[in-house]
């Protein structure tokens, strides 16, 4: 995909100012990949800002890298301050991480991009863009680009139809077939900005909840467990699905729960700086689930 020159220039200019003024130590953005497309880039030196680009290949949710910036580089120092390029969908993660006290607002500068959509693995417009209602980041410090005149779309959940049409036994068989292909590489978890537990409960040495075998029962528990841990926290960036080398349709699991939480609580992760109500709010009758 061709590089968007005006947005690229604006991102570089903001990055240069932020680094020169020492407002931030590092800018996390995108660079051209020698394999074509874009890939994440970390720029520390104002002389290197010309590495940064913007193009429809900038699909990655870079906020996941903020977890690597929570600790100081050297003991006794302050944690670094970082600027991060965010699309509207990515920006919702900032709200989640702020609410969960994972990042400090004053240490993060959000370079928001008014987004016209990005492409997926197949070079086609990403599925998430087809149902995007935002087009402008919900959190940003500087904005690049003009919010496009996109008509507001209604999320019709049509992606979930194929799974909901299946009777329970068929649905289980569908998922077991998918989990069978999974190689338990944890890329889905590693890329997820919401999966930041120091020790994931599915990867404990003592195998308390699930043992280390790379077999269907373990993968089954991992995927259902992970989906539940993301309920009300998943911002639908679909990064887990993008990075999966085996093409598991993980967004189906996440989006089913997104819809449940929205129906029960009117909560959609990251639209505001609030915690997921799922774990913390009980109705008069107890949990509504």
């Amino acid at each position: 995909m061709p590089i968007n020159e005006p947005l690229t220039q604006q991102i570089r200019e903001h990055a240069r100012q932020l680094l020169e003024s020492e407002r931030v130590d590092c800018v996390i953005g995108y660079e051209a990949s020698p394999r074509g497309g874009a890939r994440p880039a970390f720029v520390y030196d104002p002389a290197e800002v010309d590495r940064l680009i913007w193009s429809p290949d900038c699909v990655h949710n870079l906020t996941t890298y903020l977890h690597d910036k929570k600790k100081p580089r050297k003991r006794g120092e302050e944690p670094p301050r970082v600027a991060v390029v965010v699309k509207p969908c990515d920006s919702r993660t900032l709200n989640v991480l702020l609410a969960e006290r994972q990042i400090e607002r004053e240490r993060v500068v959000a370079i928001g991009v008014a987004c016209e959509g990005v492409v997926g693995k197949d070079g086609q417009p990403a599925a998430k863009c087809g149902r995007c209602t935002d087009r402008t980041p919900v959190v940003y410090d500087v904005l690049v680009g003009e919010p496009p005149e996109a008509p507001p779309v209604e999320d019709d959940w049509s992606d979930l139809a194929r799974i909901e049409e299946m009777p329970p036994a068929e649905r289980l068989a569908f998922w077991l077939r998918e989990f069978d292909r999974c190689i338990r590489c944890y890329a889905c978890r590693q890329v997820c900005p919401g999966c930041y537990c120091t020790i994931c409960m599915f990867e404990r040495d003592d195998g308390l909840w699930v043992d280390a075998a790379i077999d269907v029962p373990q993968k089954h528990i991992f995927h259902l467990g992970r989906a539940l841990h993301l309920a009300g926290r998943c911002v639908e960036c679909d990064e887990c699905e993008r990075v999966c080398p085996m093409d598991l349709p993980l967004s189906l699991l996440n989006r089913l729960l997104v819809r449940e939480v929205e129906a029960l609580y009117g909560h959609r992760a990251g639209r505001e700086e609030t915690l997921t109500p799922l774990l913390f709010e009980l109705g008069p009758e107890g949990s509504p689930i």
Binding site: P40, F42, Y65, D68, I183, Y186, V243, P245
Partner: protein
């Protein structure tokens, strides 16, 4: 060199499937993967480089090493080793090269790894030459090549009207006994396309680059997942744990399993007390490359990469081992 048609090959494989554990490239929901098969109808004959290597069948992703049964005060141990012959059909030359790399540690060191040796001894490697180098392949730079027979028992080369089978070892001669052979027609297909070679830097030149900024540059965007390690034909780290499979009054059943592990994963080096000597992503990515190009060749002989290109294609953030090798070559 023996010649047979696709039909002859199928008949031979169908017979083999009855007698041995047959593994071959298959289409799994659009992914080309080696899988156990029960007949030639499940096998792909025209396929690219399978996405995962064939190591799973010699060093299984999950392997039960031992069954432990405790009845009252008595403890019984049972070792489980399959003894059927196994044929890995249609593996690529780089897969066989990868197996040779693992042999250097698990077979050729003393003592050998008895489980690996057991699988190795029961297995025949029947490879299928590539008719082009695929996206990311650089085997020719790593001492291999798309038609390299060196580490196989049989090399098959596709032709216009059938297949040319070349036995390489006595094991290979034996497995071809049941093959219906015909008069050769035509020639093996040539390799259509070669990829650019990649510079390989000797181990001692890697040492001074240990603190180079290249590790930060590429390691920072790494996700610390396990994709590259799991798709790789030479990565062979594993973990051993015990799991309880059944508890009844007076009876406990436990399995000792070994499972794949990955040095790119955050908890790989975590030790008792929680200390992690490779705490950051760049530390871990650097280790993967140093293992391949410095530690493994120094300790066991062969380089730890055969240039199959799988990790390059599979990495979700475009960490490209050949790009790293080029930078290292420039700096060394």
């Amino acid at each position: 060199m023996r010649f047979t048609t696709l039909d002859g090959l199928r008949r031979w494989l169908d017979k083999l499937a009855e007698e041995v554990d047959l593994v071959a490239p298959t289409d799994v929901d659009g992914h080309v993967l080696y899988r156990p098969v029960t007949g030639s109808d499940q096998i792909l004959f025209d396929y690219e480089r399978p996405e995962l290597s064939a190591k799973d069948f010699l060093l299984p992703a999950t392997e039960v090493l031992l069954r432990i049964e405790q009845k009252g005060k008595e403890v019984a141990l049972e070792e489980v080793l399959p003894d059927r012959k196994q044929v890995l059909f249609g593996i690529r030359p780089c897969d066989a090269h990868g197996i040779a790399v693992i042999d250097a540690l698990f077979l050729e060191q003393d003592p050998p790894d008895r489980y690996y040796r057991h699988h190795r001894e029961r297995t025949v490697l029947v490879g299928m030459a590539c008719t082009r180098m695929w996206d990311g392949c650089f085997c020719t730079s790593m001492g291999g090549g798309p038609t390299d027979a060196t580490h196989l028992d049989v090399l098959i080369r596709p032709g216009e009207e059938g297949y040319f089978l070349q036995p390489v070892t006595p094991k290979g001669v034996a497995i071809l006994e049941g093959l219906p052979v015909e008069e050769p027609k035509g020639e093996p297909l040539p390799v259509e396309e070669y990829n650019e070679p990649v510079p390989v830097v000797p181990p001692e030149k890697w040492r001074p680059l240990f603190n180079d900024r290249i590790w930060m540059r590429h390691g920072e965007r790494c996700l610390s997942c396990r994709i590259c390690t799991y798709v790789c034909p030479t990565c062979r780290c594993f973990d051993v744990t015990d799991r309880v499979v059944d508890v009844q009054p007076g009876l406990t059943r436990i399995e000792r399993i070994r499972v794949w592990d990955a040095c790119t994963s955050p908890n790989y080096r975590r030790v008792a007390g929680g200390h992690n000597p490779r705490p950051t992503k760049p530390d871990r990515l650097r280790n993967r490359f140093y293992c391949k190009f410095c530690y493994y060749p120094e300790d066991f002989g062969p380089l730890g990469c055969v240039g199959c290109g799988r990790c390059i294609v599979a990495c979700p953030v475009d960490i490209d081992i050949t790009e790293v090798m080029q930078v290292v070559a420039k700096r060394a």
